[in-house]
């Protein structure tokens, strides 16, 4: 049986993108009024809602600096085949939650809010590949929205190697092929790696190449996210002016 080809002879991917092109990103910031920070992020058909509460009081008094708690869950209707209920704490979700928690522990200035915690909730509304990246990006924006001090923004993108081509920001079809795939998260300004997730076997050169491609993808995503945050902030400033002038 011939395999469905992922890259057409013209060099286009299944969703019409070129290999080094990220999906369309739209984000809405601050959509849940009761949360301290929230972000609804769409990367192509992957849709993620991240909510941040805090910093708020911690019930136990042990740790001196602030702590982060993170919960990741996927909606029952997120993918095409319906998942059974009660899988909120399945292993992938727990793993993703803990990796996101660790990533953000390194970037939040937790010393500034001792004896308190920040709660992060991530809900995947639609899964079309790259949920981990989308979740990280959404949490970054939600953190900004909540006004929690951070050293830098964390931006994430995935990359993969298939049919002798390196592609960035994989969709679900490309994820299912199980070729070499990398999810990378970098500090936006210093370019340092905050998280790298890789679970396949490949030559060292390919790995190096994938890192470069994922980094390039992160920078593309950063552009979009940065301009979105800027627009949002400018709108906030504008609304403050209109109130104080009255």
């Amino acid at each position: 049986m011939p395999r469905e080809e992922l890259i057409s002879p013209d060099g286009l991917r299944t969703d019409g993108r070129r290999p080094l092109e990220v999906r369309k990103i739209t984000c809405r910031i601050g959509i849940l009024p009761r949360a301290d920070g929230s972000c609804h992020l769409e990367m192509g058909n992957t849709v993620v809602l991240a909510t941040v509460y805090g910093p708020r009081e911690l019930s136990s008094r042990q740790p001196f600096s602030g702590i982060i708690r993170c919960e990741y869950s996927m909606a029952t209707f997120a993918s095409t085949d319906r998942r059974r209920r009660g899988k909120k704490s399945d292993r992938t979700s727990v793993e993703i939650a803990s990796s996101i928690k660790k990533t953000f522990e390194s970037v939040l200035l937790t010393d500034l809010f001792p004896h308190s915690r920040v709660d992060v909730y991530i809900q995947v509304l639609q899964a079309d590949g790259g949920e981990r990246s989308a979740a990280i990006n959404a949490v970054t924006i939600a953190m900004v929205n909540a006004g929690i001090p951070m050293k830098d923004l964390i931006i994430s993108c995935s990359s993969g190697y298939m049919e002798n081509t390196t592609v960035m920001d994989l969709n679900n079809v490309e994820t299912l092929v199980r070729g070499p795939q990398l999810t990378l998260a970098i500090y936006a300004h210093s370019g340092k790696v905050a998280l790298a997730h890789w679970e396949s076997k490949a030559a060292f050169e390919i790995f190096e190449h994938l890192i470069a491609v994922a980094k390039e993808g992160c920078l593309q995503i950063l552009d979009v996210i940065h301009s979105n945050i800027e627009k949002y902030s400018l709108r906030l400033i504008a609304s403050r002016d209109s109130i104080s002038r009255k």
Binding site: L32, R34, A35, F77, R82, R85, L125, Q126
Partner: protein
């Protein structure tokens, strides 16, 4: 867990005794409702509804399922209510399980009693196969009056649900189902019998429609009715002290308001789906 202080509560009650509410509504007024349909491409029907601060997302998935030999049902509807972490944390803590099963059973009974989609049109093979509708409800934000929001969103999601056409072939007692390949060969559901809930909270000696989270927390009693476009009632749920006279008074309000609400909802869904 959400709490209301004593001072806040007495302010709330005094205002209601004077016929107004802290958010400026009159006693029998809903908060602004906004609804979007067809928001989830991976579901057969979906909607996102916002009622004041309450926000829910509903996805309906349609599949063919097996039924028990003797049963004659053409349709099974399963509801699951899940609270997204963001809404959960502040609001419920460990009560979440009870809370969601309460909502599930209310919806399930209301839909069963109303016999919503029982039509010959949707018959597959009686006693062998039937349609299964999985209604997955995700609560994004809890701002009071969850039941009304969920039931309206469910109704909206059903109104956009597409059922694929199926051809049935029988070979010596073995049935084969073939689904039409054409993506346009789909049928819509008739939702005129799908109920929506109207919830009143008893505060002091007054009933208020569509209680907010504050009002819900300080309420003495609660009264929920499921009503459809004809004004038929399929489910009543109440707790707290209510006498019979009050109840019949409320039911007349329900009949009038329910129709108005459903007509408006259907109208806005039509507008929304035509514009997208």
């Amino acid at each position: 867990m959400f709490a209301v202080s004593k001072a806040e509560k007495s302010y709330l009650l005094e205002a209601i005794a004077l016929g107004t509410r802290v958010d400026g509504r009159s006693l029998l007024e809903y908060r602004p409702i906004s609804v979007q349909v067809g928001v989830l491409p991976s579901a057969s029907g979906s909607s996102r509804l916002r009622l004041g601060e309450t926000e829910v997302l509903v996805g309906v998935k349609v599949e063919v399922g097996d039924v028990a030999e003797a049963s004659t049902e053409n349709i099974q509807i399963h509801f699951t209510v899940e609270c997204s972490g963001s809404a959960n944390a502040d609001f419920l803590g460990r009560e979440a399980e009870n809370w969601s099963s309460e909502l599930q059973s209310a919806l399930e009974s209301a839909y069963q009693a109303a016999n919503v989609f029982d039509e010959d049109r949707l018959k597959l093979v009686p006693g062998k196969f039937c349609w299964v509708f999985n209604v997955d409800i995700l609560v994004l934000d809890t701002g009071g009056n969850m039941l009304d929001a969920i039931s309206m969103a469910t109704r909206a999601a059903f109104s956009t649900t597409l059922i694929p056409r199926v051809y049935i072939q029988e070979n010596d007692g073995v049935f084969e189902l073939e689904i039409d390949d054409n993506p346009n060969a789909c049928d819509r559901l008739h939702i005129h019998r799908a109920p929506t809930f109207l919830t009143f909270a008893l505060l002091g000696n007054n009933f208020v429609l569509d209680p907010s989270l504050q009002e819900e927390t300080s309420a003495r009693g609660k009264f929920s009715v499921a009503v459809d476009t004809n004004g038929d009632i399929s489910y009543v749920y109440s707790f707290g002290l209510l006498d019979g006279v009050e109840m019949s008074k409320l039911l007349t309000i329900v009949k009038k308001t329910g129709k108005l609400l459903l007509d408006r909802l259907d109208h806005s869904i039509e507008n929304d789906s035509s514009s997208t």
